[in-house]
């Protein structure tokens, strides 16, 4: 919260003049009737989206010239608030004179842009953005009916935030590329979740198939797994510096087993790897001598040099061996 939030926005004052004007006098409100449309040799498509029981409903009417698939007239009826009525009106206007194939490309973003007074100022406050989404949904439904295909087929990707039209693919990519860890960051980078907020987590004003909290958690998990896989690959290819700690210890042990331990054991001693610490310049391997090696004069000179140079040669030149 900050100063601007103490009073909060007045919902209706945030509407553009166009929204207000169209709510008061919608230009394309009305109906088209089967009989008249058929008499003109055209095809009528009437599609519903939403219902009174959900608080928002729209009915879209298209008169289509079957020769060229052109929408020659369009009307709407709406049960909804001012922004729902204004959005429906603009949607109807955007459909007229387009072919069905062209109309299906109209999105809620186009509807909202058409409602703006100036291109820079949103036409409606964030929590009202979802009203224009219904316009987009009903167009897809009408087009699907006319073309005889499922309306989902027009959507080539999974849209998570319908208000800002942000896809699942985009969200996953942005989270990964920018190493995002919070929902606020996701909203800052993509605008997803910045409007009606339904897509953030379950319990918003409508149920969604995907939620940002899950996408973030899943993507972060995937990123961690990718990191581990990369490390595992590093281990397999012998890239010591990019191994995980466990892999590094195993690798050091393997080298010690193969090249060093037999000589220590011959003298009645042994060693163990205690820890490995990586800095920008060095990889410090802490070891402890056991048995006869502990306290042996050579343990801090010749033997130590032999161990270190073997590990340097086999694993990484950045290695330093530090007995404790």
């Amino acid at each position: 919260m900050a100063k601007a939030d103490i009073l909060g926005d007045s919902l209706w004052d945030a509407y553009s003049n166009k929204v207000t004007t169209l709510m008061n006098n919608p230009r394309h409100q009305g109906e088209l009737f089967e009989k008249e449309v058929q008499e003109r040799g055209n095809e009528l498509i009437v599609a519903d989206f939403g219902a009174e029981s959900c608080g928002d409903a729209v009915r879209l009417y298209w008169e289509i010239d079957p020769k060229n698939d052109k929408i020659i007239n369009s009307k709407f009826k709406s049960f909804g608030c001012g922004t729902a009525i204004a959005s429906s009106d603009v949607m109807t206007e955007l459909c007229i004179d387009k072919t069905v194939q062209e109309a299906v490309k109209i999105t809620n973003i186009d509807v909202e842009l058409a409602l703006r007074d100036d291109p820079e100022t949103p036409a409606v406050p964030p929590q009202k953005m979802h009203c224009s989404v219904m316009a987009y949904d009903v167009i897809k439904k009408a087009a699907g009916m006319y073309l005889g295909v499922e309306s989902e087929s027009f959507e080539t990707e999974i849209i998570v935030c319908e208000c800002a039209r942000v896809s699942l693919g985009t969200l996953q990519e942005v989270i990964k590329l920018n190493d995002l860890t919070t929902i606020e960051q996701i909203t800052d980078y993509t605008k997803a979740g910045g409007f009606c907020k339904s897509c953030i987590r379950p319990g918003g004003h409508e149920a969604m198939d995907y939620y940002l909290v899950d996408i973030l958690a899943d993507t972060r998990k995937e990123m961690d797994e990718e990191k581990l896989r990369a490390a595992a690959d590093a281990g397999a290819s012998g890239d010591f510096e990019n191994m995980t700690l466990v892999q590094q210890i195993k690798a050091v042990d393997a080298i010690v087993d193969e090249n060093v331990r037999q000589f220590l054991v011959m003298d009645g001693g042994d060693m163990e790897v205690i820890d490995i610490k990586t800095t920008d310049e060095n990889i410090d391997i802490y070891i402890r001598y056991l048995g006869a090696c502990d306290g042996c004069a050579s343990s801090s000179t010749g033997t130590l040099y032999a161990i270190e140079s073997t590990l340097k040669e086999k694993l990484s030149t950045k290695i330093r061996v530090l007995p404790i």
Partner: protein, 403 residues
């Protein structure tokens, strides 16, 4: 003309109340706790206000009525101090309330559930929008610390059977609180005739100023303070006494309860006329019967007309009303009270609340009737619910797929 029909949200401060408050800003401004004459000069006015409030609510001299900042504070105080006194430092663990309380009760109860492990029962209302006494009775256990139930509903105006519920609580030996914000100043509230331990109220709901309310505490019983500090109001609520606003709540209470029957009759006559006229429109219904309703309130459902768009059209005609439903709020849920009453989802998005006051005039009612009809007509013309041409095959809506 402009018509304000949202008096359950807040009311105009009666100019007589403002007049009574005025001397206590810049003339008699002393702190009543001071020893000098600047401080003591406001004592007579505070005493008068206390008398006015006790008389209006028929409280006994053994009872405490503490002035607070609002009913939200009073509600928080009761719930959190009962938690402290009877749950943390006692054997109880349970609170009973209803599904239709004000957020200051519901949100506090949810907080007690989530943060403090208190068990809370949210009772449903019947088709008249109230909780019945026998329902309360069946949920009281020996672990119940408090029953808190509103006296009247802000949304429907439904008056709850507080006297009967009080008897149940008395019989079961459980504390009883009521958020009486919508009752005090609107309908008779007789605290000696009712078995009740605590009530909350707020001045701005009965033509007093915003920012002052009260909590009634039966028989000066123990209740840990919510505000700690300089031990004002007998140590019950610290903070320098808000003298002009205490004077204001006293005056407003007196004005609201003097000749109350006559005032109620006058308001309900106008309300009924408005209600009858609106009900003449097809496909409309009003929630709750008129007898068990605050005399100023109508909650009406208008088929095919979404609540916020109705408010918009009324606002264009300078009429202020309200809706608890749909697009107006951030979570676009249906009106929860209407759902609780058993109205179907469809009607829950079409509720409009009109709430009158003693200042509402007959001319305003006439004006509202004519513009209300006009708005319904216009919005039904646009509404898909009244469209004639049905969807082409495949264009129907199978289920709620709302955006």
């Amino acid at each position: 003309m402009q018509v304000y029909l949202d008096n359950n949200a807040t009311t105009m401060t009666d100019p007589l109340v403002v007049e009574a408050m005025m001397p206590y800003f810049s003339e008699l401004y002393g702190n009543p706790n001071s020893l000098h004459k600047f401080g003591t000069s406001s004592h007579p006015a505070i005493s008068t206000a206390i008398d006015q409030v006790y008389k209006a609510l028929n409280a006994s001299d053994a009872d405490d009525i503490v002035f607070t900042s609002c009913a939200t504070e009073s509600n928080n105080w009761v719930l959190k101090s009962i938690y402290l006194d009877h749950i943390v430092n006692g054997e109880k663990n349970h609170i009973i309330t209803t599904e239709v309380e004000h957020p200051s009760i519901l949100a506090t109860c949810r907080w007690l559930e989530e943060e403090c492990d208190v068990k809370v029962t949210y009772l449903p209302v019947n088709e008249q929008g109230v909780v019945e006494a026998h329902t309360v009775k069946s949920f009281v256990t020996d672990k119940t610390a408090l029953v808190t139930i509103m006296w009247a509903s802000n949304e429907t105006g439904a008056i709850f059977p507080i006297a009967e519920i009080g008897e149940v609580c008395k019989e079961k030996g459980v504390l009883f609180h009521s958020d009486a914000v919508q009752a005090v100043g609107k309908i008779p509230v007789d605290l000696q005739a009712t078995h009740i331990d605590f009530i909350s109220f707020s001045a701005h709901k009965f033509h007093g100023p915003k920012g002052v309310g009260g909590l009634f505490i039966r028989n000066s019983q123990a209740l840990s303070p919510f505000f700690h500090g300089g031990e004002h109001m007998g140590g019950r609520r610290s903070g320098t006494l808000n003298v002009p606003f205490i004077v204001g709540i006293g005056k407003a209470m007196e004005l609201a309860t003097t000749d109350m029957d006559a005032k109620m009759t006058s308001i309900s006559k106008k309300r009924d006329r408005l209600e009858d006229a609106i009900l003449k429109l097809s496909d409309t219904f009003v929630v709750g019967d008129r007898v068990n309703r605050t005399p100023n309130t109508i909650l009406i459902s208008i088929r095919g007309v979404e609540g916020e768009s109705m408010l918009w059209d009324l606002n264009n005609e300078q009429i202020g009303a309200s809706t608890g439903s749909a697009c107006a709020s951030e979570d676009l849920e249906a009106n929860t009270v209407m759902l609780a009453i058993g109205a179907d989802n469809e009607l829950a998005h079409t509720g409009i609340r009109l709430s009158l006051s003693r200042f509402t005039t007959d001319a305003e009612i006439d004006y509202t009737i004519s513009h209300f009809e006009k708005a319904v007509k216009r919005l039904r013309t646009i509404s898909s619910s009244y469209a004639v041409q049905q969807p082409t095959k495949g264009g129907e809506v199978q289920e709620c797929e709302l955006h």
